[in-house]
Amino acid sequence: MKKIEAIIKPFKLDDVKEALNELGIQGMTISEVKGYGRQKGHKEIYRGAEYVVDFIPKIKIEVVVAANMVDQVIEKIRSAANSGKIGDGKIFVIPVEQAIRVRTGEKNMDAL
C-alpha cells in the first residue's frame, strides 16, 4: 500500500474529493498546512510594519491506497487540483507497510 500525500490549494478540496470518490475511494484524511515555495506570498502592512506572508494556506490530503491504484489516484488528483497557476501543489508517494482498522482490527486492504 502507498500513502499519497497531496498538497493543494484549499478551494480545490471539494473537486479533489469528488474526483477521488469517482475512483471509489472511501476514505481520506485532510489537514490544514502552510506552504512555502515558488508561489510568492503577499505582504501585509500593519501601521507601517510590513510583513511578508510567505507561508500560504494549503490543504494536505492523505490517502492510503493499494499500490496498483497509485497512478490513477495521482492522475485524478492532478487533474482536479490543477488550476495551471504556480502554487497548485505537489503529490508525494510514500510506502505504507501496514494498515489496521481500529474498530475491527481488519488489516491492510480490508482496513481501507
Binding site: 501585509e44 502592512i45 500593519y46 501601521r47 507601517g48 510594519a49 510583513y51 506572508v53
Partner: protein, 436 residues
C-alpha cells in the same frame, strides 16, 4: 445656567411665603435631567476601559499576549477606581494649594454626602465621572509597552503614576490649578488624558527597551476583528467622554456630541485614504485607528469648536496619526508597541493646538481662538502642552525608576517573553477552540 435653576429662582421669589419654599430652596439646584445624563456618561466612559480599550489594544497585541493586555487594562481601571475615591479625587479636586495640587479635605470622599451637589448634579456622580478619566488615562499608557512588561511592575506603576502624575495635571487643568487660571482650554482631556498618556507611554517604552525580535520577526495583531469592535465601543463611550464633559444635558453638550462624531468619522476617512494612497490597501486597522485619532483630536476642542472646525480637525488627525505610526515611529526607531504615543500623544497635541486656533466664542463664550482674533490663546495652549509633556516626561521617568527598583526589574524573562505573557504571567490562553 440651566432651565430649572431659572425656574427655581423665579419660584423662590414668588413662593417666599410658602412653607415648602425653604425646603425647596435647599436642594434647589439638582437637575434630574442633567443627573440622568451624567450617570450615563460616567457609565459610558467606564465601559471604554475594560471593554473598548481592552479589545482595541488586545486585538492589536500578539496572540500570545492578548490576555495580558486585558489583565493590564482591567487592573488599571480597578486600581484607579480605588485610588481615586481614597486619595485621587481630593488631590485633583480638593481645595487648591498654590495652583499645584488639591488639599486632602476629601480623602475617602469625607464630607461629601448623598445631598452634596456639584453644579446641578450630585457630587458623587461628579466624582465618579472624573474617576473614569483617571482610569482610562493610565490604561492608555500600556499601549506603548504591551508584550514585555512584568505584570507586578505594571500594577505598581499604575498606582504610582495615577497618584503622582495624573492627579496633579488633572488639578492644574480642571481642579482650578494654574493652567485653569492661565486660561488653558481643555474641554475633555487633550492635555490631561492624551498628551499625558502618550508621553508617559513613550518614556516607559524607551526605558523598557524594544520587544525581542522587534523589526525582525513578524508580529501579527491577534485579531483585527476585536480591535474593530473595540474602536466601535470606544466611539460609543466617547460621547460620554466629550459630551459628558459639559456636565449637563443642554445645547453645548449637543454641540460637543456633534463635533465629536464628525471628527471621528473624518479621522477614519482620511486615515483610510492616506493609507490606501501610500500603501495601496485600506485596512480595517487603519479605519479603526483613524476613528480613535479623530476622537482624540476633538477631545480638548469638543466644547469650543463648531462643525466646520471639527471637519478639519478630524481630517488632519487621520493624516497625522498615519504618518506618526507608520513613518515617524520607524524613523525614530522606538518600540511604541500599539502607538499610544503616535496616536494619543500626537493627535492629543494637535487637538490642543486646534482648540487654540478654532475655539469659537459663538459656540462657547468661554473660549476664543486664533481665528476669532485671540492669538494669545494659541500661546496659552502651547505653554500648557509643553508643561504637561514636560511634567509627565520627568515624572514618569521617576515613577518608572522607583517601580523598577521596587519590583526588581520591569521586564519579563527572555524565555517568558518568547513563550508569551498570557502563559508566563497568567497561565491562560485567550481561546481554546478545538473541534470534537
Amino acid at each position: 445656567m440651566k432651565l430649572n435653576e431659572k425656574l427655581l429662582i423665579a419660584l423662590t421669589l414668588i413662593l417666599a411665603l410658602f412653607p415648602v419654599s425653604s425646603a425647596l430652596a435647599q436642594e434647589a439646584s439638582l437637575n434630574s435631567g442633567d443627573t440622568a445624563w451624567m450617570i450615563v456618561s460616567t457609565a459610558l466612559v467606564m465601559m471604554m476601559t475594560p471593554a473598548g480599550l481592552a479589545l482595541f489594544y488586545g486585538g492589536m497585541s500578539r496572540y500570545k499576549n492578548l490576555l495580558n493586555t486585558f489583565a493590564m487594562t482591567f487592573m488599571s481601571y480597578c486600581l484607579a477606581s480605588v485610588i481615586w475615591v481614597v486619595i485621587g479625587y481630593t488631590l485633583a479636586f480638593g481645595p487648591d494649594v498654590g495652583g499645584l495640587i488639591g488639599g486632602l479635605d476629601f480623602t475617602f470622599l469625607s464630607s461629601i454626602t448623598v445631598k452634596s451637589l456639584s453644579g446641578t448634579i450630585p457630587t458623587f456622580v461628579y466624582v465618579l465621572f472624573q474617576m473614569t478619566f483617571a482610569g482610562i488615562t493610565v490604561a492608555l499608557v500600556l499601549g506603548s509597552i504591551v508584550d514585555r512588561m512584568k505584570f507586578s511592575s505594571w500594577l505598581l506603576f499604575t498606582t504610582l503614576w495615577s497618584v503622582f502624575i495624573y492627579c496633579p495635571i488633572a488639578h492644574w487643568v480642571w481642579g482650578g490649578g494654574w493652567m485653569a487660571k492661565m486660561g488653558a482650554l481643555d474641554f475633555a482631556g487633550g492635555n490631561v488624558v492624551h498628551i499625558n498618556a502618550g508621553v508617559a507611554g513613550l518614556v516607559l517604552s524607551l526605558m523598557l527597551g524594544k520587544r525581542i525580535g522587534y523589526g525582525k520577526e513578524t508580529m501579527f495583531p491577534s485579531s483585527i476583528a476585536l480591535t474593530g469592535l473595540g474602536a466601535a465601543l470606544l466611539w460609543f463611550g466617547w460621547f460620554g467622554f466629550n459630551a459628558g464633559s459639559q456636565l449637563a444635558a443642554d445645547g453645548l453638550a449637543g454641540s460637543a456630541f456633534l463635533v465629536t462624531n464628525t471628527s471621528a468619522a473624518m479621522g477614519a476617512i482620511s486615515w483610510m485614504f492616506t493609507e490606501w494612497y501610500i500603501t495601496r490597501k485600506p485596512t480595517v486597522l487603519g479605519i479603526a485607528s483613524g476613528i480613535v485619532a479623530g476622537l482624540v483630536s476633538i477631545t480638548p476642542a469638543a466644547g469650543f469648536v463648531d462643525l466646520s472646525a471639527s471637519l478639519i480637525i478630524g481630517l488632519v488627525a487621520g493624516v497625522l496619526g498615519f504618518v506618526c505610526v507608520s513613518k515617524l515611529k520607524h524613523k525614530m526607531g522606538y518600540d511604541d508597541s500599539l502607538d499610544a504615543f503616535g496616536v494619543h500623544g500626537m493627535c492629543g497635541l494637535w487637538g490642543a493646538l486646534a482648540t487654540g486656533i478654532f475655539a469659537n466664542p459663538a459656540v462657547n463664550p468661554g473660549g476664543t481662538g486664533l481665528l476669532y482674533g485671540n492669538p494669545k490663546q494659541l500661546l496659552i495652549q502651547i505653554v500648557s502642552i509643553a508643561a504637561t509633556a514636560g511634567y509627565t516626561a520627568v515624572g514618569t521617568l521617576v515613577v518608572v525608576a522607583i517601580t523598577r527598583f521596587a519590583t526588581n526589574g520591569l521586564r519579563v524573562e527572555k524565555d517568558d517573553e518568547i513563550m508569551g505573557l498570557d502563559n508566563s504571567q497568567h497561565g491562560e490562553r485567550a481561546f481554546e477552540i478545538l473541534n470534537s
